[in-house]
Symmetry: C2
Subunit: 274 residues, 2 copies
């Protein structure tokens, strides 16, 4: 095993893009253990100098040059960070020159344009979508379900709530969710309120073993969590969804962002924010 | 105004990293209007060929070469996409060679390593964090508040709930929130349950005009939403937070990810997931 090496994600704003790209790149080198640090809001030369000190100190401590993933925009700040005793990978500026050549215009070199609150409509859309997901969680309300962009259905603890919240926060999509409960399986029909919304329904399912594990954390030893009950509920929920031709995804081996982006794609949903 | 031009974000997984980086780059060219499309889960050559067809069709329709932002990992898929009649910007592979040189090892060229559900602990941590934020929303529960990584305080509708949910989903952080209500302002003291958690508290505030606007959408014409009431509540909440030396942020001009990443940074919180 090689010694630990430091990696930094540096940005003039939140650092989330640098983290996601840089972390994805680091996972391609799984022989090496990295110590990952985000340096957000590095938006003036003084902060850049402090960041360089922190990077250089990590390099001396590790005895290895750190890796630095940057989404900095301001040339003066970039120049300072480039002086760090590190491999500095510029994940943003490197694409600006070919884009300028292709587009035939100069870039604005302006910091923090995306997610800007100047875009007030997008901000409200997102807050609205979060409030919507919270109000229409677990079948709490069925009034105005027509306003939903998508309605997730599935057995209790199949992953509906976090997926709805991710759809709201990442995409500004209004996602309601409605549980499929044992009472629905007797008739093998959708609850009445859902049957006229068929086009908006998207199902989630889960392996019974995993469902048993999740429910057992919440209510250990209960009938609700019993493996036999989980097996039966999942089997019947899947039969109901097939019967009603509702598309569905297995959440067992998918992360929340995979579920959300797959639903966006398969249900052809429109994203409202970036 | 130049004509619209198409931009694609292509990935073998969710496309979220490509979208965030690519969208950030496009905002640097605000003279041009872009039509943005995500092509996720392009994980075999057949899907790559279909993606190239879609990209080429957009180029013919626009009469301009599309821009393509790629985080593809598999060389065979990358080769197909590189044949599109477009400016293909490789946002991932371009960094692999300098990283291999620096690290002295080969990359695994493996798809979808980050956010992998193989990392079961991270998956549960995130679901736990979401459930925590929902259970400890708006002071609903105060039992086990000791388990919170951070507790957001502020007046009603200052942005606490979406920020807590973002902290849970993006970072796996357990974030509770507790409202500051007019009853607290009489004594200028924290509610008892919070006073022994001072080290975990982080405040949110908001400009009264904006608060008035947000509350008016929810309860138009109410005393709760009245501008004079918003002015008074915000003034008193800020005085209370200063009095109790609780750090606080103004949410008026910040996006949810800015709030969340600033809190992570200023409160030195540990992220639990990537």
């Amino acid at each position: 095993m090689a010694p630990r090496r430091s990696a930094f994600f540096i940005s003039d704003r939140t650092g989330i893009t640098a983290e996601m790209l840089g972390h994805g790149l680091l996972t391609q080198f799984d022989q090496i253990e990295f110590t990952e640090t985000t340096l957000p809001f590095v938006d003036n030369v003084e902060k850049a100098l402090a960041a360089v000190d922190e990077i250089n100190a990590a390099g001396r401590r590790d005895g290895l040059r750190p890796l630095v993933f940057s989404t900095l925009v301001d040339p003066a700040i970039i120049d300072e960070v480039a002086r760090a005793e590190a491999l500095v990978l510029d994940c943003f500026q490197i694409f600006i020159a070919p884009m300028e050549a292709e587009l035939g215009v100069r870039s604005s070199h302006a910091v923090g344009r995306s997610h800007s609150v100047a875009n007030g409509a997008g901000y409200f859309r997102r807050i609205d979508a979060v409030n919507y997901a919270l109000s229409y969680d677990d079948g709490q309300s069925t009034k105005d379900l027509d306003n939903a962009d998508v309605i997730l259905v599935g057995v209790s603890r199949s992953g509906k709530t976090p997926t709805c919240l991710y759809l709201a926060l990442q995409y500004g999509v209004k996602a309601a969710n409605y549980p499929l409960i044992p009472e629905d399986f007797g008739t093998m029909k959708l609850p009445g309120v859902l049957s006229r919304m068929r086009g908006k329904l998207f199902g989630l399912t889960i392996l019974p073993d995993r469902l048993h594990q999740i429910r057992s954390e919440r209510r250990p030893g209960s009938q609700y969590a019993a493996l036999a009950n989980c097996v039966a509920e999942v089997r019947e929920a899947e039969a109901l969804m097939r019967n009603e031709t509702i598309p569905y995804l297995d959440t067992t081996t998918r992360s929340i962002e995979e579920l959300a982006s797959t639903i966006m794609h398969q249900a052809s949903l429109q994203r409202h924010i970036y």
